[in-house]
């Protein structure tokens, strides 16, 4: 799966285990990962990402603790079929909105102008 999935790691952006967890949540929220999908073993993901296997084990542990993934004995690690995808989407959306609001405030733009700008950008199509 690591061939198609896009992982973003930044050594200056906090612990890698946190970033791996965040990547999984984002992929789920965006539909790049599906409920019930199998994840690579910690060792394989570590090799693909070039990170320490302990770090991936740590990330998987956190994801398991927060009910995002589960380990099925002898079969591997899977996204839980009841992984709270809707909540993750909401969380991601809230992060994006907060980021936008914070930056806009920093630029000294008022609410009306900010919303108008958002609509303008929205209508201009989806940037990518």
């Amino acid at each position: 799966m690591t061939d198609e999935k896009h992982w973003e790691l930044d050594m200056s952006a906090g612990p890698i285990f946190v970033q791996i967890g965040k990547n999984v949540r984002q992929m789920l929220a965006r539909g790049d990962l599906q409920q019930g999908e199998k994840l690579p073993s910690a060792r394989d993901l570590a090799a693909a990402l070039g990170v320490n296997p302990n770090t991936v084990v740590h990330a998987y542990g956190e994801l398991e603790r927060t009910d995002v993934i589960e380990t099925r004995r002898g079969r591997g690690t899977f996204i839980r079929v009841d992984a709270p995808v809707a909540e993750m989407r909401k969380e991601l959306l809230r992060d994006a909105a907060t980021g936008f609001a914070t930056e806009v405030r920093r630029l000294g733009v008022d609410r009306g102008e900010a919303l108008a700008l958002l609509e303008e950008v929205w209508d201009a199509g989806q940037p990518d």
Partner: protein
């Protein structure tokens, strides 16, 4: 502990190699030994490998003198010393004859994954020789691996292959000490980083701990040097 250094100093005739180093290495860590050229990285690894004796202090590997445990430790030296006539097949015979823990099947797998060409070493590039030397080292089954600058002077693609192989071959009960000055490329690999500066210990930290404090290993490295 797999290995210990207690107040170890190594003096050379004209320069000091390392000074008053005290470090402990438990099982199950990938440790980055970081520092500039001449900071004492190689000296430290050679002492643990039993190739150099400390001038002062005590070095121990598996609770004994490193010299007596040489057969149980994998040491990959800095120098590109392979006989020019040697092919990977010759290297296999050589290593299998020398080390009981050399796993021929694993060696052949590593030759494949590291894409080592099956010709004589004199016809190989520096990167190819570096990959062959790493395959020879990683095909042994030891608890302690001392890899001195396995990335130095090697092309980017070979460096990536080398790092991937190290991740794949490492088992959770083994400890790897890997020295490098290619900090940015290797930093994601390390559980723990040790910075040496002018022979002294400048920092001993968990890599993820540094990152949780908002610093990459590279950032911390720069601070130590400044």
């Amino acid at each position: 502990m797999l290995a210990n250094l207690t107040n170890v100093t190594k003096r050379y005739v004209r320069t000091e190699g390392i000074r008053d180093l005290t470090l402990q290495f438990p099982a199950g860590e990938v440790v980055g030994v970081l520092g500039l050229n001449g900071s004492g990285k190689s000296t430290m690894l050679k002492i643990l490998a039993g190739l150099l004796m400390p001038s002062e202090g005590v070095a121990a590997v598996f609770d004994g003198p490193p010299r007596r445990n040489r057969a149980r430790v994998v040491y990959l030296g800095e120098t590109d010393a392979l006989w020019t006539w040697m092919t990977p097949a010759d290297a296999e015979k050589f290593m299998a004859g020398l080390y009981e823990d050399f796993d021929v099947a694993r060696f052949r797998e590593l030759l494949g994954s590291l894409e080592v060409p099956l010709r004589k070493t004199k016809a190989m590039s520096k990167g190819e020789r570096g990959r062959l030397r790493l395959a020879m080292a990683l095909a042994r089954s030891a608890r302690l691996y001392l890899l001195d600058e396995p990335l130095a002077g090697i092309d980017l693609l070979s460096r990536e292959k080398i790092l991937t192989s190290i991740v794949k071959e490492w088992h959770t009960d083994e400890t790897i000490l890997l020295s490098t000055h290619e900090v940015a490329e290797a930093e994601a690999l390390f559980d723990r980083v040790i910075f040496l500066h002018k022979g002294r210990l400048a920092l001993d930290a968990r890599a993820e701990q540094l990152r949780s404090e908002g610093r990459s290993v590279v950032d911390a490295f720069r601070e130590v040097l400044s």
